[in-house]
C-alpha cells in the first residue's frame, strides 16, 4: 500500500483509490457533489466547520469516515488557535495519528488511563488560555533549569570530592574514639585483635616508630597534579556561580513572602473592622430588645387599664430613656442617610432650645429673645402654633407626648398641653378677624380656655397669675433668676436656674418639693467624694472661661444640664463640676471635677455620664466609679449632646452635628443641606435627628 508516501494528496488519493474500488462502483463521479451535499446535510450537526481535508475525506470514504471520526476531525479543525506553517497537513496527520494510536492505547501497551492523566490532559485547555507574560524579576535572571542545576544535591558533590582529594593516608590515629569520648559518649574498645595482650614492652616500642616519621606537613605526602588542580579551579568557579544562583532564588522567595504577608495583613485589618461592625450591631440589638420589652409592658398596661382613667398627663414611658427603634413612617427608610430633608424656618434669632414628642410628631422650638416658642407639625413640616405666656426668652424645654414644659428667663416654668395649641390658633385667627379693637376680652374667652395676647402688648398681670388658660396648663414660680435647664419624668420635675439652685417640683400639685443649693454644696463639699482634678474652688466661677470662644463671652447660665432617674440626680454647672445628688436628702454626694469651663449639656444612662462644656471638651464619665472614661478634645465649645451605646451626637461649633461612633472611634459630620451657622441644639430618636442652629432654622435629618 501507499504507506511510504507522506503528502496529504497521496494519502487522500490512496483512500480514494481504495474507496472507489470497493465501495463506490455503482456511483459515478458525476454525482460526487450531490453526495457531498447529502453528506454535509447528514453530518452537519456534527461539524462546526468543514475544512478542506475533512471534506475530501468525507466525500471519498464515508464508511471509514464515521461520524465519530468526523467529529474529532472537525474538532481539531475548529480550534485553529495557532497559525501553523502547514495547518491542513498537521490536522490530517492528527486524524491518522489518533487512529493509529488506538492499538497502542488499548492493545499493545498495558497502560491504564488514570484519573491523573485525564486531569492533566483536560487541564491543558485552560492553561493554554492563560496569558503568558514576559518573564521579569527572578524569572528573567535565573531560569528554572539553571536553578535546578544549582540546587540539586549532586551540585554539591564536587565540593565533597575535592575535599576527599585532600585526604591523606595516615596511620590510625583513633580520632573517632577521641571525638566520641569528648562528647561524653561511650567508646567501644576497638581493635584488640591487632594488639596482642602480651606485654607492655610491645606497647612502648610503637611511639618510637611514630617519631621516626618526622615532623613533615601532611600536604607533602600528596601530589595532586596540574590537571586535577585546574579541574578543581573550574569546579570552584562553577560552584560559586551556583551559589550566586541560589542566593538570587532565595531573595526572590523573600520578596514574594513579604508581599504575601502584606496581603494577609490587609485581610486581617478588614476582618478586624468587620468585628467592630458586629460589635456595634450587637449593641443596637441589645437596645432594640430593651425597647421591645418596654413596649410590651406599655401595651399590656394600656390594654389592662380603664380607658377613662388618668389625667391629661398620662404618658408612655419617658422618651428620654426609651431605647430601640421608634415608630416611623415607611417612607423614612427611603431617605438617604446624613441628609437634612426638612427645614423649618420661622424663627429670626438663634435657636436656644428644641424638643419633639416623637419622630414625625410635634416639635417645639425656642429662640433667643423670643418669648414664644413655636410648635410645629413634623409630618407636614408646618408651624401649628405658638406658646404664649413667657415674658423673657425661653432657655430650655422638654416635650413628652403632648406635654411640654418650658423654662424661661423670667424664672418661671410653664406647663403646656400641646393638643390645645391648634384650637388656640384657630380661635385666635377667628378672633382677630371679628374684633379688631383693643378690649379686655378675657371674660368671653375663659370658657374656651384661651389666652389672648392683646395686640398692644399690655398685659394684665393679675389675670395672668390668677388663671393661666389656653395651652398653658400651669405656671411654676419659684426661681429668682432664669431657668436654664429642666428635666421631667412622670410627675416629677427638676429645674436648674441661674440663682444657683436646683428645685424639684411635683407636677400634679404644682408645688416645689425641694430646693437644692449648689452654692452650699460648693462650700461644703463632701470630703470623700470629689473626683477628677481638684482645683481652686474659690476662683470666680461667674467669669466665663477665657478659653471659651467669643460667642459665649456673655454666657452665665449657671446650670447647664440636669437629668434624674429615680432619686438620683445629676447636674452640670457653670463651675465646671458635675454633681450627683440624692433627691431624698437633697445633698450632693459626689462631685466630678474635670471640666475647666461651664458645663453646657449633660446626659446619663445606666453606665456613663456624658457632658459637654465650653472648655471645648466632651467627657465621658463612669456612672458607678465617677472616673473619666474618655475625653474628647474638640475645636469649639460643645453646646448640646445626646448619646447611646453606639454613638454620641454633639453640637460642637461646626455647621453640622458631629457623630462619634463609640465602637469604631470614627467621627462624621452632617453637612449636606445643613446649617449655615453653628448648630446650637440637637435631639434625636432612633434614625430621626432634629438640629437647631444659630441661623435660626431647624433641620430634620435621617441618620
Amino acid at each position: 500500500m501507499a504507506s511510504h508516501r507522506t503528502s496529504a494528496d497521496s494519502r487522500s488519493s490512496t483512500r480514494s483509490s481504495q474507496g472507489r474500488q470497493h465501495h463506490h462502483d455503482p456511483a459515478p463521479p458525476a454525482t460526487g457533489p450531490s453526495k457531498l451535499e447529502l453528506m454535509q446535510k447528514v453530518f452537519s450537526p456534527f461539524n462546526h466547520k468543514k475544512s478542506d481535508s475533512t471534506r475530501i475525506l468525507s466525500d471519498l470514504a464515508p464508511v471509514i469516515m464515521t461520524p465519530r471520526m468526523m467529529n474529532s476531525a472537525a474538532e481539531v479543525s475548529s480550534r485553529p488557535r495557532h497559525s501553523l506553517a502547514n495547518p491542513t497537513l498537521a490536522r490530517s496527520a492528527m486524524d491518522f495519528a489518533t487512529f493509529g494510536r488506538t492499538p497502542f492505547r488499548f492493545g499493545l501497551g498495558s497502560r491504564r488511563i488514570t484519573s491523573g492523566e485525564l486531569q492533566v490532559v483536560e487541564a491543558t485547555e485552560e492553561l493554554l488560555d492563560a496569558e503568558v507574560p514576559e518573564p521579569e524579576g527572578v524569572a528573567a535572571d535565573v531560569s528554572l533549569l539553571r536553578g535546578f542545576k544549582a540546587t540539586i544535591p549532586s551540585a554539591d558533590q564536587s565540593r565533597s570530592r575535592r575535599r576527599q582529594m585532600r585526604n591523606v593516608d595516615t596511620p590510625k590515629l583513633g580520632l573517632k574514639k577521641h571525638g566520641m569520648s569528648a562528647r561524653g559518649l561511650l567508646t567501644e574498645e576497638e581493635d584488640h585483635d591487632n594488639q596482642s595482650v602480651a606485654s607492655e614492652e610491645d606497647m612502648v616500642v610503637i611511639p618510637h616508630q611514630k617519631k621516626k616519621r618526622g615532623r613533615e606537613s601532611l600536604s607533602t605526602a600528596k601530589r595532586l597534579g596540574k590537571e586535577e588542580l585546574t579541574r578543581q579551579v573550574s569546579e570552584i568557579l562553577r560552584d560559586k556561580e551556583n551559589l550566586h544562583v541560589r542566593r538570587s532564588l532565595v531573595n526572590g522567595e523573600i520578596t514574594e513572602i513579604t508581599h504575601k504577608i502584606r496581603a494577609l495583613d490587609d485581610v486581617r485589618q478588614k476582618l478586624e473592622q468587620d468585628l467592630l461592625k458586629l460589635q456595634e450591631d450587637e449593641l443596637e440589638l441589645d437596645d432594640e430588645l430593651e425597647g421591645v420589652k418596654e413596649r410590651m409592658r406599655f401595651e399590656e398596661a394600656i390594654s389592662s387599664q380603664h380607658p377613662e382613667l388618668n389625667s391629661s398627663l398620662h404618658l408612655p414611658p419617658s422618651s428620654r430613656r426609651r431605647k430601640g427603634p421608634a415608630f416611623l413612617p415607611s417612607e423614612h427608610s427611603e431617605l438617604p442617610p446624613g441628609v437634612a430633608f426638612m427645614t423649618l424656618e420661622s424663627h429670626t434669632t438663634p435657636i436656644t432650645a428644641l424638643d419633639f414628642s416623637e419622630p414625625y410628631g410635634t416639635l417645639v422650638s425656642a429662640s433667643e429673645e423670643d418669648a414664644q416658642p413655636r410648635v410645629w407639625d413634623l409630618l407636614a413640616g408646618v408651624e401649628i402654633g405658638r406658646l404664649r405666656g413667657h415674658i423673657g426668652a425661653v432657655k430650655c424645654l422638654q416635650v413628652e407626648d403632648h406635654v411640654c414644659l418650658t423654662g424661661g428667663e423670667d424664672g418661671n416654668v410653664r406647663l403646656w398641653d400641646l393638643r390645645r395649641v391648634e384650637d388656640d390658633e384657630e380661635y385666635k385667627r377667628r378672633e382677630m378677624d371679628s374684633i379688631p379693637e383693643v378690649i379686655l376680652e378675657e371674660d368671653e374667652n375663659t370658657d374656651d380656655g384661651e389666652l389672648v395676647e392683646r395686640p398692644n402688648g399690655i398685659r394684665d398681670g393679675a389675670s395672668e397669675s390668677k388663671e393661666p388658660e389656653g395651652p398653658c396648663a400651669r405656671v411654676l414660680e419659684g426661681h429668682s433668676r432664669g431657668v436654664t435647664a429642666l428635666y421631667f419624668e412622670d410627675e416629677c420635675l427638676v429645674t436648674g436656674a441661674s440663682d444657683k439652685t436646683l428645685r424639684q417640683w411635683d407636677l400634679t400639685t404644682g408645688q416645689c418639693v425641694m430646693t437644692m443649693d449648689i452654692l452650699w454644696a460648693i462650700s461644703h463639699p463632701a470630703s470623700s467624694s470629689t473626683f477628677g482634678d481638684p482645683y481652686n474652688m474659690s476662683s470666680s466661677f461667674h467669669a466665663p472661661n477665657p478659653a471659651a470662644s467669643s460667642a459665649y463671652a456673655m454666657y452665665d447660665d449657671f446650670v447647664g444640664g440636669v437629668q434624674f432617674w429615680g432619686y438620683g440626680l445629676v447636674s452640670g454647672s457653670g463651675d465646671g463640676a458635675v454633681r450627683m445628688w440624692d433627691m431624698r436628702t437633697g445633698q450632693a454626694h459626689r462631685t466630678l471635677l474635670g471640666h475647666t469651663g461651664p458645663v453646657t449639656c449633660l446626659q446619663f444612662d445606666e453606665m456613663h455620664i456624658a457632658t459637654g462644656s465650653l472648655d471645648k471638651t466632651l467627657r465621658l464619665w463612669d456612672l458607678r466609679t465617677g472616673g473619666i472614661v474618655e475625653t474628647m478634645q474638640l475645636d469649639h465649645p460643645v453646646t448640646s449632646l445626646q448619646f447611646d451605646t453606639r454613638k454620641i451626637v454633639a453640637a460642637c461649633g461646626d455647621n453640622g452635628a458631629k457623630i462619634f461612633n463609640r465602637t469604631t472611634s470614627q467621627q462624621s459630620v452632617l453637612l449636606t443641606n445643613g446649617h449655615t451657622k453653628p448648630v446650637e441644639r440637637l435631639r434625636y430618636m432612633d434614625k430621626y435627628l432634629v438640629t437647631g442652629g444659630r441661623d435660626a432654622t431647624v433641620k430634620i435629618w435621617s441618620l
Binding site: 504507506s3 490512496t14 481539531v76 493554554l128 528554572l144 513572602i257
Partner: protein, 155 residues
C-alpha cells in the same frame, strides 16, 4: 531574551532513584511547612518527568501545570517543559499546542524548534501505523464484502 532550556534528549536521561528520592523528600518537607518554593517544585517535577515510569511522568506534568497556574513569570519556560512532558507521555496533540505557543513567544528558541520536529516525527510515525491499520481494515472489509456479493450473485 532567550530562555535557557534543556534539549529533549535531556528528558530521556533519568535521575537515579536516590536523587529522585532526595528531591521528593525536599518537596515533602516544604509541603509540611506550608510554603513550597517554585524551585523545589520544579526540581521534583523535572526529576519525575525524566523518569521512565508513566505514573511519574504524569505526576511531573501535573506539578508543572501547578507551577504554570501559580507563577505567571515562569509560564514561558513551563510551556516548554509541559510540551516535553506531554511528548514523553505520548500526548502529541497537547505537546504540539504548547510548543507552538512557545514558538509564538520565542521564535528563535532552538530547543523549542527541535522539540517541534521531534513531535512531528512521532506523529508521522503514528500516522503511518494508522494508515497501515486503516488499509488493513479496509482490505479485510473488502474481502468480506466481495465474498458476500459473490455468494449473492451465485445464488
Amino acid at each position: 531574551m532567550p530562555t535557557e532550556l534543556p534539549y529533549a534528549a535531556d528528558a530521556e536521561d533519568s535521575l537515579s532513584y536516590d536523587e529522585l528520592e532526595v528531591l521528593r523528600i525536599q518537596y515533602q518537607k516544604e509541603l509540611n511547612q506550608a510554603h513550597v518554593t517554585i524551585q523545589t517544585k520544579f526540581n521534583y517535577a523535572w526529576g519525575l518527568v525524566k523518569s521512565p515510569l508513566h505514573e511519574h511522568q504524569i505526576e511531573g506534568v501535573r506539578l508543572l501545570q501547578d507551577i504554570y497556574r501559580a507563577e505567571p513569570t515562569r509560564r514561558r519556560e513551563c510551556l516548554y517543559y509541559l510540551a516535553l512532558g506531554h511528548y514523553k507521555l505520548g500526548n502529541y496533540e497537547e505537546a504540539k499546542r504548547f510548543n507552538t505557543l512557545l514558538m509564538e513567544k520565542e521564535p528563535t528558541n532552538l530547543q523549542a524548534q527541535s522539540l517541534g520536529q521531534l513531535i512531528d516525527k512521532k506523529v508521522a510515525t503514528e500516522g503511518y501505523v494508522g494508515m497501515a491499520l486503516a488499509g488493513g481494515a479496509a482490505a479485510v472489509g473488502a474481502i468480506l464484502l466481495a465474498g458476500l456479493i459473490r455468494r449473492a450473485t451465485r445464488k
